[in-house]
Every structure is written in structure tokens, then in C-alpha cells.
């Protein structure tokens, strides 16, 4: 299991999921540059978010490590870009792939979950005044995630 799943990288590059790109580094095939487009209808619409993805030695027996590089105002993503997502932790299954992980992250942008927060202040904002919180998310998207 020392390398990404056979053919996984090739398929990822050749047939990307809509709104998602992932490309491995030339000098390190375990390290991927990822972009995710903000889903339509979410405050992150129009934004292009950069992420880094790293496949640890044990992959796929343990989950990939993923982090947002672009600043984002989201209750489940903290200042350092760390993501609170169950499949990246205890719900990881070796049957999941980079592609499914990235799709899940995209889905998380559409459906923030302030009840299981990572960035507590953002989550509080989302719970108390969702409209205003979404306004800030839109602002941040415009400021940091528009190329």
C-alpha cells in the first residue's frame, strides 16, 4: 500500500469531478494541489478554493490529510484550514478515494454544520444570525477566493 491506489491518480486527473481539480506534485506523488469551486447556491458560489491533500504512508488504510489553503468563513473549517469531517477521521473507510473525499468537502461547503463546529466563533455566528454569517462568508469568498 505504499502508493496511491492503482490508477487512482490517473483517473482523478483524466476524469475530474465537476468543480474539482486535483494534480499531484511532480516531485512527490503523494502530495496533491486541489481546487474546489464553491457550490452554486452557497455563500461560497463563484469562489475557487485551494487545498492541499497528502496521502500518508498507510493510505488507503488511514485517511488522506486535507487542508484549506484559501481563507474561508465556514463553521467546520478553522483558521488554519483544518476541516472537521467525519470521513477524514473515525468514519474513514479504505473504500473511499481522493475523489469521494473531495466531493464530500464540496458538499460540506453547501451544507455547513454549525452543530458540530470546529471554528466555534463562526459556528456561533451561523447559529445566531445565519443571514449575517452568510454575508460574511460571501465577503470572504469575494476577498480571498476569487481569482
Amino acid at each position: 500500500m505504499a502508493l496511491p491506489k492503482a490508477g487512482e491518480t490517473e483517473r482523478l486527473v483524466a476524469d475530474p469531478a465537476p468543480g474539482i481539480t486535483a494534480a499531484p506534485h511532480e516531485d512527490n506523488l503523494r502530495y496533491f494541489d486541489v481546487t474546489i469551486q464553491g457550490p452554486d447556491g452557497s455563500p461560497f458560489q463563484q469562489g475557487v478554493f485551494h487545498l492541499e491533500l497528502f496521502l500518508p504512508e498507510e493510505y488507503p488504510m488511514s485517511p488522506p490529510k486535507v487542508r484549506f489553503l484559501t481563507k474561508i468563513y465556514h463553521p467546520n473549517i478553522d483558521k488554519l484550514g483544518r476541516i472537521c469531517l467525519d470521513i477524514l477521521k473515525d468514519k474513514w473507510s479504505p473504500a473511499l478515494q481522493i475523489r469521494t473525499v473531495l466531493l464530500s468537502i464540496q458538499a460540506l461547503l453547501s451544507a455547513p454544520n454549525p452543530d458540530d463546529p470546529l471554528a466555534t466563533d463562526v459556528a456561533k455566528h451561523y447559529k445566531e444570525d445565519e443571514k449575517d454569517a452568510q454575508r460574511v462568508s460571501r465577503e470572504w469568498t469575494e476577498k480571498y477566493a476569487s481569482n
Binding site: 500500500m1 492503482a6 487512482e8 488507503p60 488504510m61 488511514s62 470521513i87 479504505p94 473504500a95 469521494t100
Partner: protein
């Protein structure tokens, strides 16, 4: 080191791995090498006590195999009641944290939901009495099969576990959904029918066990909550895992034992690194029992630890809650208190703590603007123009100010009094290795300079060991005394403490004294006498303290967990 306090032939024993045994120190079983030496040293013969002392606690050391037997008994019990096989019963029990009564109650109530929660295949299979249809987790069209089909290999032993399927006859080329390898020939799945190649299964199981220390291993399919039964794990490891040395399997067994031990309050795993013994101590299993006794136990490999708390040394005579409180205080306060003591003084007016970080002795308190002399603590007004020198040392105001200062320091001083003595004994204990080496040398010297034999000079080693043991007791007596409320009881306690301390110091001095070839026999007599005396004093102190706890005689000057 032996765990008992008298020099008889009772004591520690070495046991075979797979033996259940009692090691309270009073069982009089096979003596170890150390104790053998003593048997010849007549000086140390004291009457053997057959009864356990008040400060010792009944406990039993269990090997890993013995614990496995215990858990197997529970599994047997459940499997016979429910009519399920052992691996199913084991999963049910593990999911219920080995609480048999609760499992039986819940299972009788709703067998299928309990089975689902435990990650056991289909509830209808696990329990014939289960109601409702079995949830089919597999989305594929393939049906599970246990038939042997020509051209496929039987991977798992299915003879006694009908739901452990592993046969995936594939007509068309089939790609493992994990490694995407299409040249694999053997596939395994649990009863959910999620098939993956054997190599991936083995790698997954190995990684769960070795990296995550997990004994409850779920199916690899996303969202599938089925748990792999033990026979599946073991056979997969054996046939496909890179586990030639059996270490992964061993680790798995150990994880199961640890889970069982963790779920039972009367069992505790030995905290020493890589020790696999478990100690059973039913009398210390409740929290309330910890206010009346100190459950110091030792495992089959003679590691001494406290059953009641996580302090890894013998903290007799003081009980766990007080010992914990003391350690916490020491961690939090000691360095700060020491620094405050040596670098600051309190303003005699407002008691603010002041650090003088330079300048002259004419101090003005930042808070209350009181002006005073740093040297004598008296008011500056009486100093006139005597800069940098304080000749008013005996002025009344200065004396009063110093009195006030000392009162405010009293509590700090009090704490440091106890702390320094505590730390001193701890330090001495740390130096014991050095002391041993020194003593070894002395023992050699004695053999050369006198006619004593090797056996006859063992009294030195015994004395060092006893001194070390008593210092451990003494150390903790200071923690106890710090929290004991003033009164006759405390005075009696401190009398015992003083007697033991004096005896230990005398003994240590004897041990340090240079060897005069002429006087070796006198020295030997003295050391031997002193050692016996010290041991006796230690025993008296431990016994009295322990009785005090049982009688509720000790009163604390602070709220202690478990006391009113």
C-alpha cells in the same frame, strides 16, 4: 524487592506465565533468589506472620491467559444463553462493555437492535428469536454463498462460523474496490457481502490493530457498521497478513484482554511498560473504599503499583485522594513558592508581595505608597538619612513589621516545610542506585578484610533496601501530615513519623561509616539490630495509619474527596 516487611522466608515468588496465583506476600510460596540469601542470614530471622497486616491488601495477580479465561467464561455464558456462537457473544459483550446483566436485559428486550449496534451480521442470523426482517446491507446482486465452487479457493475456515463468508466466485475479471488491482484471486467479505481482496483486508486489519490499537474492526466499505468477528481477523492475519512472528495477533489478543480489564472495576492492568499482568483486587474496586485503605498491589512480575490511582509507586501510608491532592499542589506551587520565598517580601501595610529588582533599600509600595526599609522592614521615616545602611535593626516598629511579615509567610513556610522534607526523601530514594553500588563495594571490602563470607555480608544490602523502603514511607508521611488537622491524632502520627525518621537516619549513618576491620563484627551487629528496628518502626507507622483510616480517626484540614 520483596513486598513484605519482615525478614522471613516468605515473600515474592516467580510464577509461570499460565498460573493463577496469589501474590500478597504472605503466601509463603517459592522464595526468589534474594530471599534465599536471607534464609542463611540468621540475623534476620524474626517470627513469621501468618496473618496479613492491616496495611496490606488482598489481591491476586493474573496472567494474560488467566484473564482470557475469565473473559472466555463470560463469553461461554452468553453464548449458551443466547444460543449464538462464541465470536458473536464476544462482540455482543464488547459492545456492552462486558456488562453481562445489561446485555441480557437489552438482548431479551430487542435482540435485533442490540445485534445491529454490536456490528453483528444480520440480527435474524444472530438470534432466531429476533423480530423484523434482517437489514440487507449489500447493494450488489450477488448473494452470499458458502458453497465451494470449483476454481475458487476456500480462504477462511467456515466450518464453525457459517456467516464468515469468504468465497467470491467471480466469472468476470473483478477489481478490488480498494487497491484497484484486477489480478487478485482471493476475496473476503463479512456477511454484508462487501468483498475486498485478501491483501487489502490483511493490511487494513494489521493497520487497525498495530497503528490504532483497535479491537473492534469494521467492514472496510463506507458506512458499513459490521464488525469483523475474531475468527475472521485471526484467520485473515494468519493466511494473508505479514505476521510471521505473530506479533499482530498477539497484540490483538492483548487489546481484547485490555478491553476486558478496563471494563471491570476489580481488575487493573499493570502500568509498567510491556508488562502483561493484571491484578484483581475486589476490595478496592469502589471509589469509596479508597478513603479507608491504600490498595498497594504487586503483579506477578513484582511491579508494585497503586490499584486505586495512577501514581505508579507505593504511596503508603497516605490514601489516594490525599496523595493526588498533594502531588497536584507540588506540581502547581513548589517552584513558585520557593521563588517567592527567596526573592520577595510582603509590604508590612498592605501585604502585597514585592520583589526588589534593584536600587536602594528605600522602598515605596506601589500599591499603598507605604515607605519602608527593605532590610529591616521598618518604616522609612525612622531611618532618617541613613541610606544603604540600616542601623535601626531593633526598633520596635521594625520588629513589629517583621512579625507581621512572618505571620503572612507562615502558610508558605508551612507548605515549604513539608515540601522540602518530602523532596528530600524523594531525592534520597533517587540516590539509592548509587548507594547500592557503594554498598556492594563495601561488602566486597569486608569479605577481603575480614573472615566474613559473602552470605554473611548480605546484611549491608538488606539494610540499604530497608532504608530505601522506609524513606518511601517517610516521604508520603509528609504529604499526609500537611493535610492532617491539628490535634492529638496528628501529634501521635508525627511521633511515629519522628521515630521512624530518626531510626532511618541512624541506619543511613551507620551504612555510610568507614569500615574498620577490627570492628566489623560490632558494625554488623549494630546494622542488623538497626535494620530490624527500622523495619519494626515502619510497620508500626503503616499499621497505625492504616487502622486510623479504617476507624475514621484521621481528620483533614481541607475537604478531601470521599470525606464529609
Amino acid at each position: 524487592m520483596s513486598s513484605d516487611y519482615d525478614y522471613s522466608d516468605e515473600g515474592d515468588a516467580f510464577y509461570d506465565d499460565d498460573e493463577d496465583m496469589i501474590s500478597t506476600g504472605d503466601d509463603g510460596s517459592a522464595p526468589s533468589d534474594d530471599d534465599m540469601d536471607m534464609e542463611f542470614a540468621d540475623d534476620f530471622k524474626v517470627p513469621q506472620h501468618s496473618l496479613r497486616k492491616a496495611y496490606e491488601i488482598e489481591h491476586e495477580s493474573l496472567s494474560q491467559q488467566a484473564v482470557e479465561k475469565l473473559s472466555a467464561a463470560d463469553v461461554d455464558h452468553i453464548s449458551s444463553i443466547f444460543g449464538v456462537d462464541d465470536s458473536t457473544a464476544s462482540l455482543l459483550l464488547r459492545n456492552m462493555n462486558w456488562n453481562k446483566e445489561r446485555l441480557i436485559e437489552k438482548y431479551m428486550d430487542n435482540a435485533s437492535s442490540v445485534s445491529v449496534a454490536a456490528g453483528i451480521s444480520t440480527p435474524s442470523r444472530a438470534s432466531p428469536s429476533a423480530t423484523g426482517p434482517a437489514p440487507i446491507r449489500s447493494s450488489g446482486s450477488r448473494r452470499r454463498t458458502t458453497r465451494l465452487t470449483p476454481g475458487t479457493s476456500l480462504v477462511t475456515d467456515t466450518s464453525n462460523s457459517p456467516y464468515l463468508t469468504c468465497l467470491v466466485p467471480k466469472a468476470e475479471p473483478w477489481v478490488c474496490p480498494i487497491c484497484f488491482d484486477d489480478c487478485q484471486t482471493s476475496f473476503l467479505s463479512l456477511s454484508c457481502d462487501h468483498s475486498f481482496c485478501a491483501g487489502c483486508w490483511a493490511a487494513y486489519i494489521t493497520s487497525k490493530i498495530r497503528e490504532e490499537g483497535e479491537h473492534s474492526i469494521r467492514c472496510m466499505a463506507e458506512g458499513c457498521a459490521l464488525v469483523a468477528p475474531d475468527p475472521f481477523i485471526i484467520s485473515t492475519l494468519a493466511k494473508h497478513g505479514q505476521d510471521e512472528d505473530g506479533r499482530t495477533r498477539e497484540r490483538f489478543q492483548e487489546l481484547l484482554v485490555r478491553h476486558f480489564v478496563g471494563a471491570n472495576s476489580h481488575l487493573k492492568y499493570c502500568p509498567y511498560p510491556s508488562c502483561t499482568y493484571t491484578v484483581s483486587c475486589p476490595s478496592a474496586s469502589s471509589r469509596s473504599s479508597l478513603t479507608t485503605m491504600v490498595p498497594t498491589v504487586s503483579c506477578g512480575a513484582n511491579h508494585k503499583f497503586c490499584f486505586g490511582c495512577s501514581i505508579d509507586s507505593d504511596h503508603r501510608p497516605v490514601i489516594c485522594p490525599v496523595a493526588k491532592m498533594w502531588l497536584k499542589k507540588c506540581r502547581d506551587d513548589s517552584e513558585t513558592a520557593n521563588w517567592i520565598k527567596s526573592n520577595t517580601k510582603e509590604c508590612s501595610k498592605c501585604q502585597s508581595t514585592i520583589e526588589k529588582n534593584g536600587g536602594c533599600n528605600h522602598m515605596t509600595c506601589k500599591k499603598c505608597k507605604y515607605e519602608f526599609c527593605w532590610v529591616c522592614m521598618g518604616p522609612w521615616s525612622e531611618h532618617g538619612t541613613a541610606w544603604y545602611s540600616c542601623n535601626r535593626y531593633d526598633e520596635k516598629a521594625g520588629v513589629d513589621a517583621r512579625d507581621a511579615q512572618s505571620r503572612s509567610r507562615a502558610s508558605l513556610e508551612r507548605y515549604l516545610h513539608y515540601y522540602n522534607r518530602w523532596a528530600n526523601h524523594e531525592q534520597s530514594a533517587k540516590l539509592s542506585v548509587e548507594m547500592y553500588n557503594k554498598t556492594e563495594k563495601k561488602m566486597e571490602e569486608m569479605q577481603i578484610t575480614s573472615s566474613l563470607t559473602w552470605i554473611e555480608v548480605q546484611f549491608m544490602k538488606r539494610a540499604v533496601e530497608e532504608a530505601e523502603r522506609c524513606r518511601a514511607t517517610l516521604k508520603w508521611t509528609y504529604a499526609m501530615a500537611f493535610y492532617l488537622d491539628k490535634g492529638n491524632e496528628k501529634e501521635l502520627f508525627e511521633d511515629n513519623q519522628r521515630d521512624l525518621e530518626k531510626a532511618v537516619e541512624d541506619l543511613s549513618e551507620l551504612l555510610e561509616s568507614p569500615i574498620d576491620p577490627e570492628a566489623i563484627s560490632t558494625l554488623r551487629q549494630k546494622v542488623t539490630d538497626k535494620t530490624v528496628y527500622v523495619a519494626k518502626r515502619n510497620e508500626i507507622l503503616l499499621e497505625d495509619t492504616s487502622n486510623g483510616f479504617a476507624e475514621g480517626r484521621w481528620k483533614w484540614n481541607i475537604a478531601v474527596e470521599g470525606f464529609e
